[in-house]
């Protein structure tokens, strides 16, 4: 959590501009600094965060895995790792199957790659003599195997899942870390080539600066000191984004910095409740509480799903209790043991249905309707032009926002109207604009970056027709249900039994929230109470450990269970910080179980004593035979450090007293991920989709599993990379970002005069050297071009943009804030018009933090000339529909 940053001895902020984008949380970085911590900012640009850091390390955008991999190599080769922590709390000692082959062996590929399907078969990444399921990420990878195994088990054991059956033994380990196939030795070999020279060549960071970072990080890690990492979308928004964070996780685990005060890896979320929108997701592939959405496997029922997606050991072994309670919350009395608690009502995945696949489906005419709630894809999503083209093929579009954002008006005044690519009279999309209430105008909760739920009460009633999202969703559902109950749209008799069956999932929903006032606003607290859950008597639950898989409990999101304990809105607690300790456990409520630092059992040594007094957080109290400390212990309260599970134990009982990572099937933190990832068990440096440099580390240029093939489209052309013919047409590296003064795609800031005046126009940032090279004038105009589009921006020439020497040549980077669009008080071209749709395979996030571009002086052409300019670049670079799509 952010307050815990004050306890850090060193803070590395990388892939994040925390001071600008999270200024309130940044106070804790300043507090740490005041207490003597070193603050390092690793970022392509010198930002407001760099201004307050002790050391700013400029690096090439898109090269962070090489940089972090270099630190890992330093830690391993200089024996700087925290051995006792690593041996006991991570899977360093676990032996991996002999079928595994590393990028070392396959020149940039891991074993199991299928070039035809552009994906990996993860079977060869498994533990020897054991098979483990991931705690998060891709849990459907081995569905057939696991479901089959479950059916064998069921045949012998009936409903008692996992408690015997096919025995999955403990994995083979070597605590000396000497076995050549143990994770630790694999790591050593894997990262050996990430040398300081490679860091210099790939990242453009001189060895001495790199060495300084290595010293600060390792010198501030160990029993008595901790280093924290902070990242944001500067790490995630890459075609290999998930592996950026994995690299940091490996480093922090080797240094023993996870689960300890002043340690950890803080993911700063980009919007007030983005954490909440993954906990109770707006994502296509998750159910509340990170339960995977079922795939469309033949005949998959509740038992098969639980067997395939759950674990035998650790807290995911209770998946059935979490899922059945969710189904009870949604379908109430209709969910019975006989119908698998309505498991069949859940939608099934047939593949990726991310926002980008949805756009392609719109273009293909398959997706006919679109709701936009507080989302402005015509500005905020990668390849914004493709977003607008997609919306022009819809039958209907509903936009709920504060103002007439670009996504609501593209059909009459969007950029494609100006270029002649679209004509208003040709567009059949019916656009509905519905004004939305602001957070001050409604009750509800925010879940912050640190899993903290904070309740906000309505301060004023929304003006005019503006309504809350809750109001809209509730009444839309109510009206749809009324229409279905009356036999379909218009109340006509249903054509047959099948249609009625099809409607049951909607008609059986519990949809009876109390409302109040003239507008019939639903009670937000009633929704919170349902999320919290209740028992068979209707009394609120207080902990997810009370959840049952027999239908006797209901809970809308198992990790939120306890937020309404005792019938009290715990998220509304506001005891001031000055009246409690730094953990501030009585301010709001954090999931799970109001615990503020996850995996905090790791803050004590294997014997249960704090690693040092200075870094004490939770510890084993021998007298009381219980875990205690400053935070809520993230461990079974009475489980002694000496506890070792008996043979055949399952669930939480299968974890020993030295297994702090209780969500993992083996209780250990995964340096090597045997399951859960689609692009490798270890991170490897791959270059961005569009990049002017070849990959120096492997023959494999880009992440072979990245998602590009579904997005081949004339409006989404990729560029030649790394010295391939034509790549010199795009010699610079662009990176997009936010400013303090504006918010994401601008819907909440560009219409507000007080914010608009602070950054009144779209601009780009370039170094004086690049300005001289390209004839760009300060305060003049520049046109920035990629294979997708050309945009114009005012020029801000600044020494804060640092040219780098990469692979022996001078590299200039272009900074492009992405807040703007043509509407509002503060206007400009959308930076996302430049970006391609090319995605990370694990989480389907777009690569907008690093892509190659060209920049030239002057404004972009008007009318069809704009399209022609882009075509000219495409011709010059020899771009075809195949360019950049190779594995």
């Amino acid at each position: 959590m952010q307050q815990d940053l004050q306890n850090a001895d060193c803070i590395v902020i990388q892939g994040s501009n925390m001071a600008e984008c999270h200024p309130v949380g940044f106070q804790w970085v300043m507090e740490a600094k005041a207490r003597g911590a070193a603050v390092i900012h690793v970022d392509p640009r010198f930002t407001r965060t760099s201004a307050l850091a002790d050391l700013h390390v400029p690096l090439r955008a898109g090269s962070d895995i090489a940089f972090l991999g270099g630190i890992i190599n330093y830690v391993l080769s200089q024996e700087k790792y925290f051995r006792e922590y690593v041996v006991n709390y991570t899977n360093a000692a676990t032996v991996i199957t002999g079928q595994f082959a590393d990028t070392e062996d396959l020149d940039g590929l891991f074993s199991g790659f299928d070039p035809e399907h552009r994906g990996y078969d993860a079977r060869t990444w498994q533990y020897e003599e054991a098979e483990v399921q991931a705690a998060s990420g891709q849990r459907d990878e081995l569905y057939e195997d696991r479901a089959a195994m479950a059916s064998v088990r069921q045949a012998g054991r009936g409903e008692a899942h996992g408690s015997g059956g096919a025995h999955v033994g403990p994995p083979r380990t070597d605590p000396t870390l000497e076995h050549p196939r143990c994770v630790f030795q694999i790591l050593r070999r894997h990262f050996a080539r990430y040398t300081p020279e490679i860091v210099e060549q790939i990242c453009g960071v001189p060895p001495r600066t790199f060495g300084k970072v290595c010293e600060l990080v390792t010198g501030n890690s160990g029993r008595d000191r901790t280093t924290a990492f902070v990242y944001s979308v500067g790490w995630t928004q890459h075609t290999v984004g998930v592996q950026y964070i994995r690299t940091a996780a490996i480093l922090q685990l080797l240094l023993g910095n996870i689960g300890r005060p002043g340690g950890g890896i803080l993911a700063l979320r980009g919007h007030a409740s983005i954490q909440g929108s993954t906990d109770i997701p707006t994502l296509f592939n998750l159910l509340p509480g990170y339960i995977p959405m079922p795939h469309a496997h033949g005949n998959e029922d509740l038992d098969a799903f639980v067997a395939a997606e759950g674990t035998d050991k650790g807290y995911w072994a209770q998946l059935r209790a979490y899922l059945v309670s969710l189904l009870k919350a949604w379908w109430g009395p209709a969910a019975t043991p006989d119908n698998g608690f309505c498991f069949g009502y859940l939608p099934r995945l047939t593949g990726s249905h991310s926002t980008y696949e949805t756009v392609m489906a719109q273009l293909a005419g398959d997706c006919k309707g679109y709701f936009l709630f507080g989302e402005n894809p015509a500005v905020g999503s990668a390849n914004a032009k493709l977003q607008r083209l997609g919306m022009s093929r819809l039958d209907w579009l509903v936009v709920r926002d504060f103002s007439l954002i670009e996504s609501a008006t593209w059909w009459k005044d969007g950029p494609e109207i100006e270029t002649g690519e679209m004509r208003t009279t040709d567009i059949g999309t019916e656009v509905f604009f519905l004004p939305a209430a602001a957070h001050t105008e409604k009750d509800g909760s925010f879940t912050s970056t640190q899993r903290l739920l904070q309740w906000h009460h309505q301060a004023v009633a929304p003006a005019g027709d503006a309504r809350s999202d809750l109001w809209f969703a509730y009444h839309l559902g109510r009206i749809v249900r009324e229409k279905l109950a009356a036999g379909g749209p218009g109340g006509q008799a249903s054509p047959g039994h099948a249609a009625a069956e099809m409607d049951r999932p909607v008609l059986d929903l519990t949809w009876d929230y109390p409302t109040r006032g003239e507008t019939a606003e639903p009670e937000a607290e009633a929704v919170l109470a349902e999320i919290n859950g209740y028992d068979a008597h209707g009394d609120p639950l207080s902990s997810y450990q009370q959840l049952n898989g027999d239908g006797s409990t209901a809970c809308g999101c198992w990790i939120y269970c306890g937020v309404y304990a005792g019938g009290v809105n715990q998220a509304a607690r506001r005891k001031p910080g000055r009246d409690q300790d730094w953990i501030a456990s009585e301010w709001g409520w954090a999931w799970p179980a109001n615990r503020r630092i996850l995996y905090n059992r790791a803050s004590a040594d294997p014997g249960g004593r704090p690693w040092s007094q200075r870094k004490a957080l939770v510890w084993w109290d021998e007298e009381r035979a219980a875990w205690t400390g400053h935070d809520v212990p993230d461990f079974a309260a009475g489980k002694s450090p000496r506890y070792r599970p008996p043979d055949g134990a399952t669930g939480a009982d299968a974890l020993s007293g030295i297994d702090p990572f209780i969500m993992q099937a083996d209780g250990k933190a995964w340096l090597f991920a045997p399951a859960g990832l689609l692009d490798g068990p270890l991170p490897a440096h791959y270059e961005p989709q569009d990049c002017p440099f070849p990959n120096l580390l492997y023959k494999q240029q880009r992440n072979p599993a990245r998602q590009v093939l579904p997005f081949v489209h004339p409006g989404n052309r990729f560029q030649p990379s790394g010295g391939a013919p034509g790549s010199d047409a795009f010699p610079y590296v662009a990176t997009t970002y936010r400013l303090t003064e504006h918010h994401t795609a601008g819907g909440m800031s560009r219409w507000l005069p007080y914010l608009a005046e602070l950054q009144p126009e779209f601009f780009c940032e370039v170094s004086p050297e690049l300005a001289a090279e390209r004839g760009l004038e300060h305060l003049g105009w520049a046109t920035i071009v990629t294979a997708r589009n050309a945009i114009e921006a005012r020029v801000l020439v600044t020494g804060r943009m640092t040219p780098l020497t990469v692979q022996g040549r001078r590299l200039h980077q272009v900074g492009i804030p992405y807040h703007w669009g043509p509407n509002g008080c503060s206007r400009g071209d959308p930076a996302n018009d430049l970006a391609s749709i090319s995605l990370d395979p694990n989480v389907h996030i777009q690569e907008v933090k690093a892509f190659a571009c060209d920049i030239r002086p002057g404004r972009r052409p008007r009318g069809p000339g704009r399209v022609e300019l882009v075509r000219e670049y495409q011709r010059r670079a020899g771009i075809t529909e195949q360019t950049g799509t190779e594995p």
Binding site: M30, L55, P196, K212, G219, T740, Y754, T805
Partner: protein
């Protein structure tokens, strides 16, 4: 958190009674402006200590000020002056964050004290980081510094704006601050050139003078000013002036100890040209770098002697006029 970076205050010690009558305005030899202006038994003088060494340039102060005081938008102009599109203080900007990009003096600030003591016994100095304790190799173009500072009305001990105001619109409050009463201001504009810092401006289409009130309305309700409340890093600290000066001295000493040689206080000295500012600053470079006058003087300082000269001149002029009139009269009679 026991205390914030600067020890954020949560109560209202500047209100009468809260501090148990421990009146603190009178530093040795220092003028007590509220008493001078007739506020008997007034609460302690309050002000701002703006510690620019922790300012992150978020401009929350500018926005909070405008929101609370309903100050209008000040123009949508892209200035190109780093991230500063406000430009300066005026009728429609009562807080202004300056952004100064410059080469860092003397490389990097030394990391930290505990840092230096970090267990290094086993340190096998990373071969390529030779010379490890010196500053890291600066990137091409040199290590940068980006100074940020939130400027505001100084609420001078000797306030020229107040001296020249003919209507009494500008007045000294019981808190020792200087406030314009917009319902009395007649828009004469005398206060504008009188301010040695260029703080006050006349609002277009309104004609009256406007500036920071140090949130006089909030003070009366026991609340700190909006800008200080919004500041996330406690760069803007509000409180009794005497206490702020102590805090500033401590902070300055710590920075000097940490090797930040350029750190200095600006406006805290009661012996300066305005008798000390009610809003003073910790700067990391010369005041001119931030656009602040290095040696401000209350512009009405020489008024008494000027008036003596004016009076003498007036007598002479009157005499001359009288003589001329007499001569004229005489001339007419002679015709």
């Amino acid at each position: 958190m026991s205390e914030g970076v600067g020890g954020r205050r949560r109560v209202a010690p500047w209100l009468p009674g809260v501090r148990g009558g421990r009146f603190a305005g009178a530093l040795a030899g220092e003028v007590d402006p509220a008493a001078v202006d007739g506020h008997a038994g007034h609460p302690p003088r309050v002000g701002f200590f703006t510690d620019t060494s922790v300012c992150i340039g978020c401009k929350a102060c500018e926005v909070a000020c405008k929101e609370w005081n309903r100050v209008p938008e000040d123009g949508l102009t892209f200035t190109g002056m780093s991230y500063d599109n406000t430009g300066g203080l005026g009728a429609d900007s009562w807080r202004h964050v300056a952004f100064i990009e410059q080469p860092a003096p003397g490389g990097l600030p030394r990391a930290t004290q505990p840092q230096a003591q970090a267990s290094r016994d086993s340190v096998d100095v990373f071969a390529l980081a030779a010379g490890g304790d010196g500053p890291a190799e600066p990137p091409a173009g040199g290590q940068l510094r980006w100074l940020m500072s939130s400027d505001v009305c100084k609420h001078c001990t000797h306030a020229a704006c107040l001296d020249v105001c003919p209507t009494g619109s500008l007045f000294r409050t019981e808190f020792g601050t200087v406030v314009v009463q917009e319902d009395i201001c007649n828009g004469c504009g005398y206060c504008i050139p009188a301010c040695p810092y260029g703080v006050i401006g006349r609002r277009a289409g309104d004609g009256r003078a406007w500036k920071c009130t140090l949130c006089y309305d909030r003070l009366g309700d026991g609340m700190e000013p909006a800008c200080a409340k919004a500041c996330p890093t406690d760069s803007i600290q509000f409180g009794p002036l005497e206490e702020l000066r102590e805090r500033a001295a401590g902070r300055l000493a710590r920075l000097h100890q940490a090797g930040v040689a350029g750190a200095r206080l600006y406006g805290e000295d009661p012996r300066d040209g305005v008798g000390g500012a009610g809003a003073f600053f910790l700067l990391l470079d010369e005041p001119e770098v931030y656009g602040l006058p290095p040696d401000p003087v209350v512009t009405t300082r020489d008024l008494p002697s000027m008036w003596r000269h004016v009076a003498a001149a007036a007598v002479a002029v009157t005499a001359a006029a009288a003589a001329s009139f007499a001569a004229d009269l005489l001339g007419r009679r002679l015709r």
